[in-house]
């Protein structure tokens, strides 16, 4: 056993400054990067997302002359959607699992106690975690969206031209990151509320992939509007918005998505603040 000192005399151990939000975010970044599951999820997200883009673009381009007129028009009017959307579902699945587990794994392992001892103002602790995760997911998602755009536009160039200088395309590319960030924050919020990994992941999957289908069964336009207003429905933000079937414009969908994040995030903050750890 070594006899290192506790450094009481002289060489006092003190915070170098009054710790603030940036210190909490550095801490959260260390936590996020030091788990292998973070990197697996993201590797899967890149591979599948880019893979789906390539596959969808290749199939549509190859079969272009056999497509009916309506589909051809759609292809031309929303090429950016064809490029970016194929990977959206899988990528949001990966981000959701990561987001939910970011917090539920702290509850299941007991790490949450260390987190709350380090920052007893619990809403700040959760905000730091959310902000760090959001930044990380945004940057990572753009690292998928930007190459996907260039690969997809190269493949589809025979029948459509999508330019990076078109503001609609820039908006869609930047929105890919925002959409994924929102998916991550929704999952993180649900995880903070229910605290158990299996329950949180099931709820998130139900919200994204089951509920929209169920809601669309409601007769009339109500069901369709409700379904389109579910988080996954708002993925219209990563399209041109020129599809005939769209119920909401990208701007409207973006606002709906923001509302989801605010409502669920707010509920998570209240839950974390009120309940014992």
């Amino acid at each position: 056993m070594t006899t290192a000192t506790l450094t009481r005399a002289g060489d006092a151990v003190r915070p170098t400054h009054r710790p603030g939000m940036t210190d909490l975010m550095r801490s959260e970044w260390t936590k996020l990067r030091s788990l292998r599951s973070t990197w697996w999820s993201l590797a899967a997200m890149i591979a599948v997302s880019v893979g789906f883009t390539v596959a969808a673009c290749a199939v549509y381009t190859h079969d272009f002359t056999h497509l009916d007129a309506a589909t051809q028009t759609e292809f031309r009017q929303d090429t950016i959607g064809l490029i970016l959307q194929p990977g959206v579902q899988f990528a949001s699945l990966a981000v959701s699992v990561l987001g939910a587990m970011l917090i539920t794994s702290e509850y299941s392992t007991g790490m949450i106690r260390a987190t709350m001892l380090a920052e007893p103002r619990r809403t700040r602790a959760l905000l730091a975690k959310a902000a760090t995760f959001a930044l990380f997911v945004y940057v990572f998602s753009e690292l998928i969206a930007i190459p996907s755009f260039f690969i997809g536009s190269a493949i589809t160039s025979a029948h459509a031209s999508v330019s990076i200088s078109d503001p609609t395309n820039i908006r869609a590319i930047l929105s890919f990151g925002l959409f994924m960030t929102a998916m991550g924050l929704i999952a993180l919020s649900i995880g903070a509320i229910v605290r158990h990994t299996a329950a949180a992941v099931s709820l998130v999957l139900a919200l994204h992939f089951v509920l929209p289908g169920v809601l669309s069964l409601i007769p009339g336009t109500v069901g369709k509007h409700l379904s389109a207003a579910m988080p996954q429905g708002t993925s219209v933000v990563v399209s041109s918005g020129h599809n005939a079937g769209n119920l909401y414009t990208p701007a409207q969908a973006g606002l709906i998505l923001a509302a989801w994040v605010v409502v669920l995030g707010g509920a998570a903050l209240v839950s974390v603040k009120r309940r014992d750890v």
Partner: protein, 267 residues
């Protein structure tokens, strides 16, 4: 002059104070109107039968749980009002408080960053608890004793003036037990307040200067260790025991005091 009042408060406030601290789970009152103070410069043993409420009291002191009534104060303030709290209070809890998938070094690094502590402190505490060689390995693979050492490293990270240890010798080998005993004594000798819960009476008899005993959430005794033994052992036995052997009477004294407060016992 806020600085002066701050100093005054720190000078006069006990390291830890509970005032009418009460917590119930459902209809069961687990911590029942506790009033106590824990002072700097000594090891205070926190004793009580299983389920007496020791761990719950510690979680209340640390703000992990809210009391139904009463107050838990650290140097006169609720835990939640401390800035860089790990520099004030270090705690080893009964249940694990680290992620299994993360290495000891990264766990401690994240905690140090959250407190704006210099990164070199991570290596210092790793040395101090003897985990340096395994610091890069996943903490999920650690033995009970290694996990306990990681918890102690986290508790000492901020060089805190107050240390709370909930059953720290749990899972430690004899060398580890010896090490913890000396560590606690040294922390107290350096002027820190040490509050430690344990079921090992022989261990407490030689480590604790002061004892707080609870049963069913109520304070049963709060006095010096020697005085406690004298007060609660059979007077005939006490008189017949030579001075040096008296610490061995702690177990008997404890049993006599808590006999009526034991909830979970074999029949």
């Amino acid at each position: 002059m806020p600085k002066n009042t701050e100093n005054l408060r720190r000078g006069h406030a006990p390291a830890i104070e509970a005032r009418g601290l009460t917590k119930s789970y459902g209809s069961k009152t687990v911590v029942d109107g506790l009033d106590f103070q824990v002072h700097a410069g000594r090891v205070t043993g926190f004793l009580g039968p299983n389920g007496a409420g020791k761990s719950t009291t510690m979680r209340l002191l640390l703000g992990l749980e809210r009391p139904d009534s009463g107050q838990a104060l650290i140097e006169g303030r609720p835990y939640a009002e401390l800035t860089a709290p790990l520099s004030h209070v270090g705690a080893l809890l009964e249940a694990k408080a680290f992620h299994k998938g993360r290495s000891a070094r990264n766990h401690l690094l994240a905690l140090a960053q959250s407190q704006a502590l210099p990164e070199r402190r991570v290596d210092e505490v790793l040395d101090l608890v003897g985990l340096h060689d395994v610091a890069g390995k996943r903490a999920g693979g650690y033995s009970l004793g290694m996990a306990q050492r990681l918890g102690i490293a986290a508790a000492l990270l901020g060089d805190p003036r107050i240390v709370l240890l909930d059953e720290p010798v749990n899972g430690l080998d004899p060398e580890g037990v010896f090490w913890i005993r000396n560590l606690m004594k040294r922390l107290a000798a350096e002027g820190r307040a040490v509050l430690v819960s344990s079921h090992l009476m022989n261990e407490m008899a030689v480590t604790a200067d002061h004892l707080m005993v609870i049963g069913r959430g109520r304070l049963l005794a709060d006095c010096g260790t020697a005085e406690f033994i004298e007060r609660h052992t059979d007077p005939a036995v006490y008189a017949a025991t030579p001075d040096v052997a008296r610490p061995a009477l702690l177990e008997e004294a404890f049993m006599r005091l808590t006999a009526s407060a034991v909830e979970y016992s074999a029949r």
